[in-house]
């Protein structure tokens, strides 16, 4: 049960980090200068082409090592980064690449006139982002982001490989102690399935809410 809690914590954290990176990334890709645009293109391409497992290993070891080296070079003590923080950071980095693409597509789907109208009203870019772009792109982005959330819950299982005790690894340890492998793995599977089904229901509600006032897809 603690394992499930850990899994959910990481999934939520990683999704939030991913959303922040994704929003900035999408903005950078759409409105940034040529250098920023190319850098984000490299980031999304590389992250999406390399298996998550390899990325997690690479970032998990390299990231903690790098931070410690920087800290020692600056004269601070080495810090022991907890698995939770590292897991959130790593998965968030991976999720960021995917959500960049989703959000970029969603922003492109907003009727251009809305953004132009907001500019004509003299809104600052921050206000424009908060009042117009984000709410207007939400209905287009939610299906993609819902997929990403489901992927995030399942990607937390990969952290078992680097030895972070989330649901899958906890299951394996419990199963190893009691020798009842099949029972424990089936139970964990049911737990994951419940998470998926519950979030499917909630995300369906959220999408309906975000689409309020828009013509239904069936009519279009």
């Amino acid at each position: 049960m603690v394992g499930l809690l850990h899994s959910l914590e990481i999934a939520v954290g990683a999704t939030i980090v991913g959303l922040v990176i994704g929003t900035w990334g999408a903005y950078g890709k759409l409105y940034g200068g040529p250098v920023v645009r190319d850098l984000f293109a490299v980031y999304t391409t590389v992250v999406r082409a390399v298996p998550e497992l390899v990325l997690i290993l690479l970032l998990y070891y390299a990231g903690t090592d790098l931070i410690n080296q920087v800290l020692t070079a600056m004269g601070y003590q080495r810090v022991d980064i907890s698995g939770l923080v590292a897991g959130i950071a790593v998965l968030g980095f991976v999720q960021g690449a995917y959500s960049t693409e989703v959000i970029r597509g969603a922003i492109l789907a907003i009727p251009q006139g809305q953004i132009e109208a907001a500019r004509a009203y003299g809104m600052s870019p921050g206000l424009l982002l908060r009042r117009i772009t984000l709410p207007a792109m939400l209905p287009f982005a939610i299906p993609g982001l819902a997929n990403l959330w489901l992927i995030a819950t399942k990607d937390t299982a990969l952290l078992a490989v680097v030895g972070f005790s989330e649901l899958t690894l906890a299951t394996r340890q419990a199963a190893g102690v009691t020798k009842a492998y099949l029972v424990f793995f089936l139970a964990a599977g049911v737990l994951y399935l419940c998470v998926t089904l519950v979030s499917n229901f909630l995300l369906g509600r959220a999408e309906k809410w975000a689409r309020r006032g828009m013509p239904s897809i069936k009519d279009a």
Binding site: D38, V46, L53, L58, K154, L158, Y181, L182, L193, T196
Partner: protein
């Protein structure tokens, strides 16, 4: 004339692509790569060269086998959901939901540790011809990856089957084709064309799940790089090389699929 225009066009595109900042970025990237090649330790490479090639070969083999088998399961699963009665559609739907709702790592471990620990309890399994295979790890890996691919692709095929225009099928029936012939000549090819772009993405995703089989002791390229790390205590070099290998394979896959996609008629429906 057309040739000249094409040459001018490609030249213009090249100059558009090679803007000054891109050149600087490319130089920086080249500098990073050369410094990585020069200053990091690569002396372990000759020793593990053969093993690495074996690993790549095995990963590709698993990828191809699971994709082909998975697609063969996905077609009936998708068809059942798109056109079957509720007795066929409901189990197919449940299968897809379960596969897509649980992590692949969990499915893999469930099959390997769970089922694998059940089999030795029955003497008749131990005496059967299957036992030498069931004792190894790779059948479980292949089975888990196949089922996972079938689950995801079954959902895609459902949409593809449902998306084939009704008129096409009615026309086929009007020609007096038998049901099997309609399926083979009309329904399946058109659904396949529709599913092809998604199929590319699914195949790349499948490639990215193959390293998971390393966790149940199948020696693929990922397992080789873990072994290098354990033997030499190097952290970055094997992982960086591994990431590069996967990127190259992904690039080749995407290129190959785009070639196939170009061969199919664009105007459908």
């Amino acid at each position: 004339m057309a040739g000249e225009a094409a040459i001018i066009n490609t030249a213009a595109r090249a100059s558009l692509w090679l803007q000054p900042h891109r050149i600087v970025l490319i130089l920086i990237a080249l500098g990073l790569v050369t410094s990585a090649a020069l200053f990091m330790r690569w002396d372990w490479l000759p020793q593990y060269w053969e093993m690495g090639l074996m690993g790549i070969w095995r990963a590709l083999w698993i990828l191809v086998v699971t994709c082909v088998l998975g697609f063969m399961i996905a077609v009936p699963v998708g068809l059942a959901q798109a056109a079957g009665s509720i007795w066929v559609a409901a189990p197919a739907k449940v299968f897809c939901t379960i596969i897509r709702g649980t992590p692949l790592l969990l499915q893999l471990w469930l099959l390997y540790y769970g089922l694998g620990s059940l089999f030795p309890q029955y003497p008749w399994i131990r005496e059967s011809w299957m036992w030498p295979y069931l004792r190894q790890a790779w059948p479980y890996g292949v089975l888990a990856l196949t089922l996972s691919f079938a689950g995801y692709e079954g959902e895609v095929m459902r949409g593809a089957f449902a998306g084939v225009p009704k008129g096409q099928l009615e026309a086929a029936r009007a020609f007096g084709m038998s049901r099997w012939k309609i399926f083979r000549r009309i329904w399946l090819p058109q659904a396949f064309y529709r599913a092809l772009p998604t199929l590319t993405g699914e195949t790349v995703l499948q490639l990215k799940s193959t390293p998971l089989v390393a966790t149940i002791s199948v020696i693929d390229i990922f397992a080789v790089s873990s072994k290098v790390r354990q033997d030499t205590y190097l952290t970055y070099e094997p992982l960086l090389l591994l990431a590069l290998i996967y990127m190259v394979i992904t690039g080749i896959l995407v290129f190959a699929f785009s070639r196939i996609e170009r061969r199919i008629p664009v105007k459908i429906g």
